[in-house]
């Protein structure tokens, strides 16, 4: 019936194969201490009984859990890209991932609490909104790595992109195309928003364009970009840098619907290099966060902490890369 008979355990396999439980355990873990012949026989029995190790019992007994808890948010395409990278990185290093989602009706605190009960060895948080103090409290009991935001706390590790530099790249690119009237649609209350906004302001100043600097309140979603676009339509700049790709697509959509050609009338630069931004029909120029490096480092850092290594600096800042595609061009 599916849940009918009890699932087979080590003891079942041992009995069937005529050996001790301990020996089966050795074989299943591929640990030294069994002859090739018995190894073969035990494996055959295990296969026949369709034995599946019980990771709960396994983790319970063996203390160290090789399990990383990841908190991500639903409806953030870039988080999906990060998850993809995290799975890769974890697999390379022999760790498992356990996910906990933040949804419109399930907050970050709940998501974290769930993982704490699962006794993961460490936590990786994608763009957490939890206040620093509270993050610190969690970090008091297990290693915490925050991604895509700064956390000024001595117990919390951080892996993030150099967001200020990202906006320098974006503005430099636009300036090199002849743009001067460059606006910025920010991320509203999102945490990396202020770094990016500041990066934009600095870059504009560096080019002597502070007179043109204009920041419009945005957010992380398409509707935020769309709203910002409508606001810009009164007096459109020749170029705009946007908090992230998702918001940029919302903005692009509204601009085009109002007859502006991109990049003819207006150039647009996104942020993240989310996988959808490289789709042919979107073809968005954007500031790429280095997903591979970030996820690899985040996992590595978490594991180092689990192993009790003392790591020198808690914050790793990865340089971004500008990816020029079809939404930017010379000023018309």
């Amino acid at each position: 019936m599916g849940s009918g008979e009890r699932r087979p355990t080590l003891a079942d396999v041992a009995a069937e194969a005529g050996v001790s439980v301990a020996l089966v355990s050795i074989v299943m873990r591929d640990a030294p201490g069994a002859s090739a012949a018995t190894r073969e026989r035990v494996l055959e029995v295990a296969r026949r009984l369709d034995y599946q190790p019980d990771s709960r019992a396994r983790l319970l007994r063996s203390g160290r859990s090789r399990l990383l808890g990841v908190v991500f948010a639903v409806q953030h395409p870039f988080h999906d890209d990060m998850l993809t990278g995290l799975y890769d990185a974890a697999e390379r290093i022999g760790y498992e991932l356990t996910l906990s989602a933040v949804t419109p009706r399930r907050d970050e605190r709940t998501a974290v609490a769930g993982l704490l009960q699962d006794r993961c060895a460490a936590l990786v948080l994608l763009g957490p909104l939890t206040p620093t103090a509270e993050l610190g409290a969690i970090a008091g009991r297990l290693p915490v790595v925050a991604m895509m935001r700064t956390v000024r706390h001595r117990q919390v590790d951080v892996v993030r992109t150099d967001d200020a530099r990202g906006l320098h790249l974006a503005v430099d690119h636009l300036v090199s195309l002849g743009h001067r009237d460059i606006a910025h649609v920010d991320g509203g209350r999102w945490l990396s928003s202020s770094e990016r906004r500041q990066g934009y302001r600095d870059a504009m100043r560096r080019h002597g364009l502070e007179a043109y600097a204009r920041v419009v309140v945005g957010g992380f979603g398409e509707e935020d970009g769309a709203r910002a676009a409508r606001e810009l339509l009164d007096r459109p700049p020749t170029a705009v840098t946007v908090f992230n790709d998702l918001s940029a697509t919302g903005l692009l959509d509204v601009l085009r619907r109002h007859g502006l050609s991109v990049p003819g009338d207006i150039s647009v630069v996104g942020y993240d290099d989310s996988s959808f931004s490289r789709l042919a029909h979107i073809d968005l120029t954007t500031v790429a966060q280095d997903i591979d490096t970030m996820t690899t480092l985040a996992v590595a850092r978490a594991v180092e902490r689990v192993d009790g290594a003392t790591v020198a600096h808690r914050e790793v800042v990865i340089p971004p890369r500008l990816v020029v595609r079809g939404t930017t061009g010379p000023v018309g």
Copy 2:
């Protein structure tokens, strides 16, 4: 630090409070058998020591796991909406969710295998691509509920939308607006694609429009819709029904970029009612899958199976609902 001292256990709390381990367990589970006074005292100590129950040990001992494994795919916005609903439904019924993602480099088999080791009580699979026979094999060892696709196997439960009916609704709506030249962009190899395609064909026939019926190969993503749109541009229909919302947005984008106005020149109907489709700047007419009902039923069904109930019919088919927004209008 962080992983410095061992995390407190029931025994620690018991020792500190001067009672037995069993009693602390009773208090933590809020089970009957402890006086109000000790209850209070034990809770106070637990709070002070920052005790967190170990769900592994808990589940291991108590057999039944109140844990539902969910397999979802990354970069499918509608799966995110489903996750949101599943979390709600699970919480209402006192179950936990454990997630396993399918990514471009992590296939469904791997995702399922992970959950099997976690000993979840049942599996919920979002639009699984696994062949029926293999799903059946998994269902042989624990209850499996597949969502958003049909599975003809006597051990696999199915909760899905009446996709044929969904396309009837879409076509009926377009016909009532005066459209006759209505094309369909399908989902390619995706599993509900054939039902929806068939629903489209039936509806066209029912309206005596088989001469106009035209199916373009699509897929689940934006780029598939975009590709299909380019194909349609030679000889554009006055309306098009699309496999899903994501594909529809790709299609919309290309159509508009080529100077077609929506819904002036062409009407577009999506499928899913993904949360982004209701954003003001997308404002997509679409066939809504009833997320609340589907997720509630899927969780309920999984739990019934876990409890060993014999459920009459294995397939639950939910009627869809047409949501008329801004991408459909009278034929121009």
